[in-house]
């Protein structure tokens, strides 16, 4: 198969899986087994295809498909691989989690088929969002992610979950409508200056002609884009949907929302950041990212420290981490960008782990209230161990991966002349750590209630967590070569440096080990 065919197969796999899962509803007694089997096959194939595509990009340079409508460079490859890994692991976890929910009568078998259908459709829309080169299709895909996941958020049909689904769909569609305005501004700006206006819709073409675009319009457009896609990425003050949707959705969906969806919107912001930095210079977009970033961290940290609901705490942690990534890009320079991209990976792994863990606890205790959850270590020791390690890792404790990226963010901040801002960030991160330690201490330790039966839920709800923690530990102690190469390639794209090496001294410690630079220019046949 050629690289282009891989991309088509990658996009079609979750779509076809979704259709099969929906149709399984009509299979009567075999519906449950059939939908689960289709789902398992679908997510496995998607994992193989997404990782295969990402490796192909690292080896041979960017892939352009369907007349330039799809474009996967080193930057997209990271996000693509993350959707693959997180989508597979949360999909696997879903099988164990949903088995419990169906057995206990929380959801019916037809609802289970719908769940698997929308789960895969959601994956499909996210894959579309990160592979899009057509900026209007990028918007369409991000909007489609909302539509694909609304039912997943409200699937329990209870008062609170319906309220969360309503807020989610209204706030995100309205927010993303701002993104459409920004997109249209950029597009129409480009049609009026390009010799061949038909290319104005492609990100690669816009990047090539960024210098010709009107700075005043691009400034307004970036504000619209940041508000629009920032809503979806969970940046303060547009984050209002996030704690509700993340906490009310079934835990595997919470994990997918936090670890994959937020990244997709972030990638779109980064794509515009690259163009706008070239048109206007980086000062204006960086200032906005710094402002939104630090505000998100500050507000989220305060909510984390007073939170009683375990999943809401984790949801606010997503706001905090998205803020940290925005802040890091805003700091600029090779180190800031590398730190941001590494943090995208690290946060996704950690948050997927913790939402899965919170799911196990929720199934055991039937509540998310941290005042009621006690002694998880006695009830389900392995879940408690994984959850505890994950929470400390998320708080930035070595030897896990988040420590490295947060350390890099602070170094980048000091390097770029923002010592006070870094001091404030560190204080806020300490608050977050305190909130996470408080969660671990209150829920995992202590005597367990007699009403809660002891024992783990099963292999499928533990295996994904073990794999996630293993990956976090690996990234924390020794950066695997392909990841380092991907980060290096992606950072050069964000900095618009072409094939030039990253500035010496400011690069991450593992950069020296990179085998060979990954080409960032489009192939001759592409755009």
């Amino acid at each position: 198969m050629s690289h282009m065919e891989w991309v088509y197969a990658l996009l079609l796999t979750p779509f076809a899986t979704a259709l099969l899962a929906f149709f399984s509803r009509g299979l009567g007694a075999a519906a449950r087994r059939a939908a689960t089997l289709f789902h398992l096959l679908g997510i496995t194939l998607m994992l193989v295809l997404s990782l295969g595509t990402a490796f192909a990009v690292l080896a041979d340079g960017p892939i352009s498909a369907a007349g330039g409508w799809f474009y996967i460079d080193g930057l997209a490859a990271i996000f693509l691989a993350l959707i693959g890994v997180v989508g597979f692991l949360t999909g696997l976890y879903s099988i164990g989690y949903m088995r419990h929910e169906v057995d206990n009568g929380e959801i019916s078998v037809p609802t289970l088929c719908t769940y698997y259908g929308f789960f895969n459709l959601f994956l499909c829309t996210m894959l579309l969002a990160v592979t899009a080169n057509n900026i209007i299709m990028m918007w369409v895909a991000i909007e489609a992610t909302t539509l694909g996941s609304t039912f997943l958020v409200g699937i329990y049909g209870q008062r609170s979950s319906l309220e969360a689904a309503w807020k989610y769909v209204i706030i995100c569609t309205v927010g993303v409508a701002f993104g459409l305005f920004g997109t249209v501004l950029v597009y129409s700006n480009a049609t009026s200056v390009l010799a061949d206006p038909s290319g104005a819709v492609f990100w690669t073409v816009l990047l090539g002609h960024a210098g010709q675009l009107d700075p005043a319009l691009m400034r307004i457009a970036f504000v619209f884009v940041l508000i629009g896609f920032g809503t979806k990425a969970g940046l303060f003050p547009m984050h209002a949907w996030l704690p509700d949707a993340h906490s009310e959705a079934p835990s595997p969906v919470s994990a997918l929302l936090s670890a994959a969806l937020l990244n997709c919107a972030l990638l779109v912001i980064i794509r515009y950041y690259i163009i706008v930095s070239k048109t206007l210079g980086p000062a204006f977009p960086r200032m906005l990212l710094l402002a939104f970033g630090i505000m998100s961290i500050a507000v989220a940290a305060l909510f984390i420290i007073v939170q009683r609901d375990m999943k809401r705490l984790l949801a606010y942690s997503s706001v905090e981490n998205m803020g940290l990534i925005a802040l890091s890009i805003g700091l600029g320079g090779p180190l800031g960008v590398l730190a941001a991209l590494l943090h995208v990976i690290n946060h996704s792994l950690a948050k997927a782990l913790l939402f899965c863990g919170s799911g196990n606890i929720l199934l055991k205790y039937g509540t998310r209230d941290m005042d009621a959850i006690k002694g998880v270590a006695r009830v389900a020791p392995l879940t408690a161990l994984l959850m505890g390690a994950g929470a400390l890792a998320l708080g930035g404790m070595p030897p896990f991966n988040i420590f490295i990226s947060e350390f890099m963010v602070v170094t980048a901040g000091i390097h770029s002349g923002h010592p006070w801002l870094m001091l404030v960030t560190l204080l806020l991160l300490t608050l977050v750590l305190a909130g996470l330690v408080r969660m671990v201490a209150r829920t995992l330790l202590g005597p367990s209630p007699d009403a809660v039966a002891r024992g783990e839920l099963g292999v499928l709800t533990l295996l994904p967590m073990v794999l996630l923690l293993a990956m976090m530990l690996t990234l924390g102690v020794s950066m695997p070569r392909p990841v380092a190469a991907a980060l290096d390639s992606a950072a050069r794209i964000v900095l618009d440096q072409g094939d030039a090496p990253l500035a010496a001294g400011a690069a991450a410690p593992w950069i020296k080990t990179t085998a060979k630079p990954v080409p960032t220019a489009a192939p001759a046949a592409g755009l």
Partner: protein
């Protein structure tokens, strides 16, 4: 010249129909006025197509007629007719406040657009101001209404605003792009309507003030 005058005046009419969508109390009446507004939008597309010689816009007009004048209003009319919650019908802002807010939005949009220096829209600035203002009018509808069904209409108004901006500034975009945006908009309305119905069935209310279980 006359054609641009028609476009600008029709765009003005969009503003009036928006106020009607927001102002009437029954959601079914809003659906009728929304259909009327979409018809105005279709007329703008047709006029623009003739003026600018942009053949794509005829296709846009046709697809907008099918989706926005017929399909979405019919879906809404049928789905919303059964949902009644008089308690939610009182808006947070009365008609006078609504008109004043709309006037402020119109002035601000006009000022914002006056700085744009794109040759494509030199003669259509009033229409462009309306398209931007219309977007914010939809936002006003969402924040000023207690009835969640009215919030769906607010989204529809925003979407019409964005659609007009697209037609004015990006009318040479590939047809597939327009289809993508229209499909998203229809699905958004369908999904919001389904969630609203489920909320009504489970909670027996359409009042956004009753949706306060989740806080902090």
């Amino acid at each position: 010249m006359t054609a641009t005058l028609i476009v600008n005046n029709l765009a003005g009419l969009l503003f009036v129909t928006s106020l009607l969508v927001m102002g009437v109390s029954r959601p079914t009446a809003s659906a009728v006025f929304y259909s009327l507004q979409s018809l105005v939008l279709v007329l703008i597309f047709v006029t623009l197509a003739a003026t600018l010689g942009a053949g794509e816009l005829y296709l846009w007009a046709a697809s907008a007629f099918v989706t926005k004048v017929v399909l979405v209003p019919v879906i809404m009319y049928r789905a919303l007719g059964k949902l009644q919650d008089p308690a939610a019908s009182r808006p947070l802002i009365g008609p006078t406040g609504l008109c004043l807010a709309a006037a402020v939005i119109a002035v601000l949009s006009y000022l914002a657009v006056s700085t744009v220096k794109l040759a494509v829209v030199a003669e259509l600035k009033p229409a462009l101001a309306v398209s931007l203002g219309h977007f914010f009018l939809g936002l006003l509808c969402i924040v000023s209404q207690r009835n969640i069904l009215k919030q769906i209409f607010g989204y529809c108004l925003m979407e019409n605003g964005a659609h007009l901006t697209l037609a004015l500034m990006a009318n040479r975009a590939p047809e597939l792009v327009e289809i993508g945006i229209a499909t998203d908009a229809i699905f958004a309305v369908v999904i919001m309507t389904l969630v609203a119905r489920q909320i009504f069935r489970t909670l027996q209310t359409l009042d956004v003030k009753q949706l306060t279980a989740l806080k902090g």
